[in-house]
């Protein structure tokens, strides 16, 4: 029986002290009589770690495979090497190496990321193959196939560094980059990447511009590659295209897989294993491709998450209990009322949409007022979901006008609509597996309150404040909706009913002008429907504009202020719930002709 650490303590434990301690130990190592050979291996591990941690940004966190880390490494190395030969100070060669790698990153990243899936991998793979060609194109700078030799020992701020100085410099630069990238992935940008990787649709509906987000991650990953290249140029005073061959790219990928692609410190494990193992033993060079290939296949199949993922899982499940955090406890003790929701009126005029020959919407006009629940009902295939998807930007309408609070938003992309105030929920709730409930709710604030990537990497006060406010707002909303005790649980573990309420909380976190609910009651039992209905009533009473698509007739009757009935792409009735309920057209579309006739007989009888 193991004694579990309380969750409270786990969250507060500064685990980042471990890597800093590691860096400190490495820095005193040269003065303990460790051999130069060992120090050289540590330098190689540090350089490879920088390359791997950069790849992890793109591959592990943004979900796009980039094979070009070794080419960016080359760019950094050639720039720094050439300038060093011309007596430039290391402070400059390092910065220029980083900038050059970032520039090549942006040129390849924009076209590569635009199409998604394989294009970035292929563009960057091509880049690796181009390294020797470009080297041959400008031999006076690169030394061509023979390589660039005569790179002097580094001079930093006018001081010549000896080999110990070089070693310490590499450790410090590597530590700085690893810290910067760690700050990046734990920031709101990191959370946005998580959302995007698990559900691009959700990310777009939360206002995230996906290509920009991916490009940001790729660029952040290019920086350490450029820096590692610049440092590498000084290691032997000689670089050649052979140092950056495709094998190096594959070794970087293999290290990432072994250490865990979605991790920071895993990169160090992976780099250490590969450097101490296959990369050092020259006797197995002939077999290195076979070995790396096998590592990739096996790693891809069995070892998702890598070493870091494995350790993380074990620690979480074995050693941590789920005690509530203090802010959650405080919120539990003092439930809050829902204050004002700044809803805006939605005005839809003559909206049309056809899929091929199928006219899904044939000229729908509809309005939803702030402070009201506007329901959209109708049989399957009547166009309800199409309408919702147009208003949230996932489809483009063929014609028609959509206005929110008087502003035209017709044809906006989902992320722009989200920024304009459209929040939505989904038929089957979209909650990222790896996030807690509070993180899920806070993710809706990403697009509304931007923080700069640089501020997040440096962990500046503005970044800290944004993070604190995200947490406070999430806890506040969860407490209002009555599920705050689950704030730090995995969102994926919640029951369906609670996930729906979580989605409402997330919608509210985006300060919505309009909330679209897509069949929120489906799959819920009666008491869950009642809870959800209460939540919806409270949101509309606080001023929210709610449009709800729902099959549950009883629920609609109890919460809706206005009901619109869609049938085959047109609105056949709208008005207050009771009048719609007794509309002969509606009864016929739902229950058939016989029911209509019966209703008409009853109405006629009632008149007598």
């Amino acid at each position: 029986m193991t004694v579990k650490m309380s969750y409270r303590k786990f969250v507060r434990t500064p685990f980042w002290i471990l890597p800093i301690a590691l860096a400190a130990v490495l820095l005193v190592l040269p003065f303990t009589g460790v051999s130069n050979g060992t120090l050289r291996i540590i330098v190689s591990i540090a350089l490879l770690s920088m390359l791997v941690v950069g790849l992890n940004m793109t591959f592990g966190y943004a979900g796009e495979l980039a094979l070009g880390q070794s080419a960016l490494y080359a760019v950094g190395a050639y720039f720094a090497g050439y300038l060093a030969i011309h007596q430039w100070d290391l402070s400059l060669t390092l910065i220029i190496g980083i900038i050059a790698a970032a520039a090549v990153g942006i040129i390849t990243g924009i076209p590569g990321i635009r199409l998604g899936s394989w294009s970035l991998a292929m563009v960057t793979f091509f880049l690796v193959l181009l390294v020797p060609k470009v080297a041959q194109l400008i031999p006076e700078i690169t030394g061509g196939a023979a390589g660039l030799s005569g790179i002097p020992l580094p001079v930093l701020f006018g001081q010549k560094l000896d080999s110990t100085g070089y070693y310490m410099l590499v450790i410090i630069v590597a530590a700085i980059f690893i810290a910067l990238l760690r700050n990046f992935v734990t920031s709101r940008h990191g959370a946005a990447l998580k959302v995007m990787r698990e559900s691009p649709v959700l990310a777009r509906s939360l206002g995230m511009a996906l290509p920009r987000l991916k490009l940001a991650a790729y660029m952040v990953g290019a920086l350490p590659a450029g820096a590692a290249g610049a440092l590498f140029a000084y290691q032997d005073g000689y670089i050649s295209p052979g140092s950056f061959a495709f094998t190096v790219a594959i070794a970087i990928l293999a290290s990432s897989i072994i250490g865990g692609s979605e991790s920071i410190y895993g990169a160090i494990f992976g780099a250490a294993i590969l450097t101490i193992g296959p990369l050092r033993t020259t006797g197995v060079q002939e077999y290195s491709l076979l070995l790396f290939g096998a590592l990739l296949v096996l790693g891809g199949i069995f070892f998702t998450g890598g070493l870091a993922g494995f350790l993380n899982k074990v620690i979480r499940s074995r050693f941590v209990d789920d005690e509530l955090l203090p802010d959650v406890e405080a919120a539990l003790g003092a439930p809050l009322p829902l204050e004002k929701v700044n809803g805006q009126d939605l005005e839809i005029t003559d909206l049309k949409k056809a899929f091929g020959g199928n006219q899904a919407l044939g000229g729908v006009s509809l309005s939803a007022k702030a402070g009201q629940v506007t329901a959209l009902i109708g049989p399957n295939g009547s166009g309800k979901t199409t309408l919702l998807n147009i208003v949230s930007g996932f489809y483009n309408p063929d014609s028609g006008v959509i206005k929110i609070g008087g502003n035209h938003v017709t044809g906006f992309k989902p992320h722009r609509l989200a920024v304009a105030g459209v929040s939505r929920t989904f038929q089957s709730p979209l909650v990222p597996k790896s996030m807690t409930v509070a993180e899920c709710v806070a993710s809706a604030r990403y697009a509304r309150r931007r923080t700069s990537i640089l501020a997040d990497m440096l962990y500046l006060p503005s970044a800290r404040r944004a993070r604190r406010e995200d947490r406070e707002e999430a806890i506040r909303l969860l407490s209002i909706l009555g599920i705050v005790e689950h704030a730090d649980r995995r969102a994926f573990d919640l029951s369906l009913g609670m996930r729906r309420i979580l989605e409402v909380a997330r919608a509210l976190a985006g300060d919505p002008a309009l909330i679209l609910l897509d069949e929120p009651a489906s799959g819920l039992d009666e008491s869950e429907v009642e809870t959800l209905s209460n939540v919806i009533r409270r949101v509309s009473a606080a001023g929210g504009t709610i449009v709800i698509v729902e099959h549950n007739f009883e629920m609609i009757m109890s919460i809706a202020d206005q009901v619109n009935v869609l049938h085959l792409g047109s609105i056949i009735a709208s008005g207050e719930p009771q009048s719609v309920r007794n509309d002969p057209d509606v009864v016929e579309s739902y229950l058939g002709k016989a029911a209509r006739e019966q209703l008409e007989r009853e109405l006629a009888g009632g008149d007598k």
């Binding site: 563009v123 193959l129 990928l253 491709l289 290939g293």
Partner: protein, 288 residues
């Protein structure tokens, strides 16, 4: 000039052959098989052994290459793709790169690092076209790519099995409900693509030689061909391949040989930016 053009067409035809392989797998299983070009590379070595060591006639060499390609294709699907079902594209990226690396590594260990001339169709000579010398092997390879593209396109459009593969690419679940064995379609696609691509190796090897890193350049350039032509289109793969081959040869001739690959790279960046769906690609709307 005509010599340059015919050389460009035949190089482009080789890219088209690999691109057709990409397409066969992609259409049936939505997997991009990064290792596809390595089937051609392995094929050239099989052709080498078939001719130089066992003295097989060329039809038997073609058959042998096809069999080896089919077997490796099946192994790849079963060992590196099928087990991932449900884990998503993210892992396919890794395992197909892994398979590709394994194949290159195996070739390096078995046949060594030096490029070796393959024995078939080496003495075909040249014919005169409008007063310029054109290699017969260039014409043969170009013809093979055209035949392959049109043959696969016809089979896909006209036969039950081709239509089934289209159906499973369009909507996997609906295809399963219609009684299409989606798993076997995927396996079949890897086998067919592996066999067809490898089978062209006795011809291709006469131009490229057998070398373990043949697949690297082929993989990217066939991808460029596909990006130009549009994923899923066989006509697009063919035309895209020719465009890449011609550009490469013209770039080398007018700018210098160092520019051969760089010009293709620039073309790829431009195509991705201005023609994201390719010449013959299609688009899809439903997301939620």
């Amino acid at each position: 000039m005509i010599t340059t053009l015919s050389a460009g067409l035949s190089i482009g035809a080789i890219y088209a052959i690999v691109a057709i392989g990409y397409n066969i797998v992609f259409v049936a299983s939505k997997v991009f098989n990064f290792a596809q070009a390595q089937f051609l590379m392995i094929g050239t070595f099989i052709a080498l052994d078939a001719g130089a060591r066992y003295g097989l006639p060329i039809p038997l060499a073609i058959l042998l290459c096809a069999i080896v390609g089919a077997v490796i294709g099946a192994l790849e699907e079963i060992l590196a793709i099928r087990r991932l079902a449900g884990k998503g594209e993210h892992n396919e990226l890794v395992t197909t790169v892994g398979v590709s690396t394994l194949m290159a590594g195996a070739a390096l260990v078995i046949w060594g690092p030096e490029p070796i001339r393959t024995p078939y169709l080496t003495g075909l000579g040249q014919i005169q076209v409008f007063g310029s010398a054109v290699g017969v092997i260039d014409l043969a390879i170009t013809a093979i790519a055209i035949l392959l593209a049109s043959g696969v396109a016809v089979v896909t459009r006209r036969s039950m099995i081709g239509l089934a593969s289209l159906a499973s690419s369009e909507d996997r679940d609906a295809a399963m409900l219609r009684g299409i064995d989606v798993k076997r379609m995927a396996l079949g696609a890897f086998v067919v693509a592996g066999a067809l691509v490898a089978a062209t190796a006795p011809f291709v090897g006469a131009k490229t030689y057998a070398t373990y890193h043949l697949g690297d350049g082929l993989a990217v350039k066939a991808f460029v061909a596909l990006a130009i032509g549009g994923f899923g289109s066989y006509l697009g793969a063919l035309i895209g391949g020719f465009i890449v081959g011609l550009l490469e040869m013209l770039g080398a001739r007018f700018l210098g040989s160092e520019w051969q690959d760089i010009s293709v790279f620039v073309l790829l960046l431009i195509v991705l930016l201005v023609l994201p769906k390719g010449l013959f690609g299609r688009t899809k709307e439903r997301v939620v």
